[in-house]
Symmetry: C2
């Protein structure tokens, strides 16, 4: 490392030089899993009202049909496709998460990579390398300002994700060091996302617009648009303006020695992570004991205090509210044996079997339990008592979803949107992305 | 005013209801002057390298030819036209300024109004009303966070201008109160511009991207994309996240009783405002005494301390550096009798007559002088001493440019870009905008 280079230049130098050949196997495998998981939620969300509205709003101004809106028949210019795919992939809040930095790393990045790959052919190796390096950029920059930045009210998926988007595009465009610095700085001046927007469609707009902002940053830099060489660390640069504290070592130390993507995790359940241990415990007890609701007298949950801060709704009235009810979540785990997007529907919110079981769920707060832990105790009408301690919820870094579980999630989300044979083909392309001669095939296979 | 309504809702309610018929004459006149001045710099900047690069970067992805790139033959979709016109109008730093809030109010707003007016016909009255209300939104919101917001490192032309852009579009689209709130909140979550970018092309990118962000916000809100109703004032809303202090009364008090546009000012000289008093004094002494450089022994300037903080360059090597040299600026005032964009050229930076006079300029700091004041003393070789005290520099709110001066500035900037008869026609359209049946005629007349 050049000791006189600044933070932005040091990061850019690494990103420009880093090659696919240097990636550890585990990192490449995790990249394919991230792609597979993200594609499932992007396809699954493609008919959400937020996507329909955004598509109607931008279509009259869109450019040539260059890139696929995943799961749909429409194709738009790469800029608008990036926006739409960013929205659809985050609208269920079912995409990947790095919990240590509160970033959903794929949503601002993969819309850029897929759109560009359709527009300018790129090998699967370069595609996967760009994905991993984009995660490095957004993850390291987020880590440098965690937790002060998020506590100030920023939505880090958008404000840090814009760097991932710029680097993703910058790698595929083959930017040199100076232009990569300019792309990063053009991204730095376009942070998107304040937390007041949580609870409205604007939350999923954040990764979509971050994807566009980063893509535009790289395209401008490619043509010679000038910016700062110190966009991250300058006195009035991104870190000082958007955070009261920072540790630049998180950005520049150990580049290439370890990878951000190792911290990525995938959700088995289509709701906030805090209720995942409860659902996990309920599903396992159900499956191991062939439970049906009529057998159950009551369910007692011991949970971390944060669970009731966020999901204490005892009587949710619609699918969205069900995601914020630990009572509903436990009940649906028993009734359905899973908790995908389809299990948080308005119809199930009113379903008699579910609501009667929901009303037999009780909670006890236990501060000794971690956020990915829970104890589930089920009292059966026949007098038996079933108990399970969840040490690490399914989907956590310590207890990750298996490849088979990711594929089951994919099939669930894509059902009714893409035909089964197309789903199988698309999953194969995601799993084998690094072997593809033309990574644009991935997005083309996701056309509805 | 409804005392229970929040800041965003109160502002939105006023903006939705406000009518052209209620505008005072002076406000409408100033709107025409703002339009005239802004159009001159947008046309003048249209061949700048930053515009050429941005145009090359976005053209492959642009949509239908809906809106004019002012001064040029290209037409792009309204989104991309807004970006390009925002860049061209700010790239000389010669556009309008509200010095009390450090905002260039037209650059994020007029690209949106002109693009939309070409796309969906709108009367001149609605166009002028939207312009004035957009200035209200960005000006009042900026005032609520001045000076903490700017001191934190934000470029308020972008971060506050995005509200002006959203409101400009929102008025032309006829949004209702709820949708105007959503547009404002979608703007709030897309602030653009940190001050580290000053000195690179990215500074002029800020109002261009702010224009786009606001336009997209309004178009999404129009179609029903949901956002917050408290995007400005919420705990994690724009004001709290982007400023350490705020006074919401600046946003909600006296709506309709006075107008932000009264504080707008136009630059007679194509450089930072701090050297304007010096240039003004030199030009006046020159004109009153028929001075030529050979007559002058030395020039002594008494100036506010901030002048040397920003423009102390004794030996500028190119046109851009000349803008940061009070010595050059005084000399060019004598040599040319004006200081438009053409007077800050690389050729003049090296001109023998100018540089020899420049080297006979001396400065004395006087903290008792205001920032728009200077004393100029010229010692002639024949023994005479000429002195002038500039109480308010030409172009300040107290000593505004006359309409004739604005038109002379327009002719200078448009020379070589639009033919003379077209320039006259375009100036007439700007002056009489409120009388137009179709305000889209303004942008169409600026086509190169």
């Amino acid at each position: 490392m050049n000791p006189t280079a600044g933070v932005t230049e040091t990061l850019a130098r690494y990103l420009v030089a880093a090659r696919f050949e240097d990636l550890p196997d585990a990192t490449r495998t995790e990249a394919a899993r991230s792609l597979l998981n993200w594609m499932s939620v992007a396809v699954g969300g493609c008919r959400h009202e937020a996507v329909e509205i955004a598509l109607a709003a931008v279509s009259p101004f869109a450019g040539p049909a260059q890139a696929t809106i995943l799961g749909r028949s429409e194709r738009l210019d790469i800029m608008n496709a990036a926006l739409l795919n960013g929205i659809s992939s985050h609208v269920f809040d079912f995409d990947d998460t790095d919990q240590t930095i509160s970033v959903h790393p794929s949503a601002p990045v993969l819309p850029v990579l897929l759109a560009l790959a359709e527009y300018r052919p790129v090998s699967g190796r370069d595609f996967i390398n760009a994905l991993i390096l984009a995660f490095e950029a957004e993850g390291r920059i987020a880590r440098a300002v965690t937790p002060a930045h998020q506590a100030a009210g920023w939505h880090s998926t958008g404000t840090c994700g814009v760097f991932g988007a710029a680097v993703a595009a910058g790698k595929l465009l083959g930017l040199d060091e100076t232009r990569m610095c300019h792309a990063i700085s053009l991204a730095a001046t376009q942070p998107v996302g304040i937390r007041e927007m949580f609870g409205s469609m604007t939350k999923s707009f954040h990764p979509g617009r971050a994807a566009q902002n980063g893509l535009l940053a790289a395209l401008l830099a490619e043509k010679g648009y000038t910016s700062s060489l110190q966009g991250i660390e300058a006195r009035r640069g991104w870190a000082n303006v958007l955070s009261s504290a920072h540790d630049f070592g998180a950005i520049t130390d150990g580049l290439g020695a370890h990878y951000e993507i190792a911290r990525n995790s995938y959700k088995p359940f289509a709701c906030g992570l805090v209720v995942h241990p409860v659902i996990d415990g309920c599903v396992r007890l159900r499956d191991e004991n062939n439970l049906v609701p009529e057998m159950i007298d009551r369910i007692d949950l011991a949970i971390n205090p944060v669970v009731l801060d966020l999901t204490a709704n005892r009587t949710p009235r619609n699918g969205l509210e069900c995601k914020f009810s630990v009572y509903y979540s436990a009940a649906i785990g028993i009734v359905a044996g899973k908790a995908g997007e389809a299990q948080f529907s308005d119809a199930l919110a009113r379903d008699k079997v579910v609501t009667e079981l929901r009303d037999r769920v009780e909670t006890t707060v236990d501060p000794l339990l971690d956020k990915d832990q829970a104890r589930v105790k089920i009292q059966l009408k026949d007098g038996r008592v079933l108990e399970r301690f969840v040490a690490h919820a399914a989907g956590s870094v310590e207890n990750p979803m298996t490849d088979a579980q990711l594929e089951a999630k994919f099939r669930d989300l894509a059902a009714g949107i893409l035909p089964d044979d197309r789903v199988r083909h698309l999953m194969t392309l995601c799993r084998t992305a690094e072997q593809l001669a033309d990574a644009g095939d991935i997005a083309r296979a996701a056309r509805g």
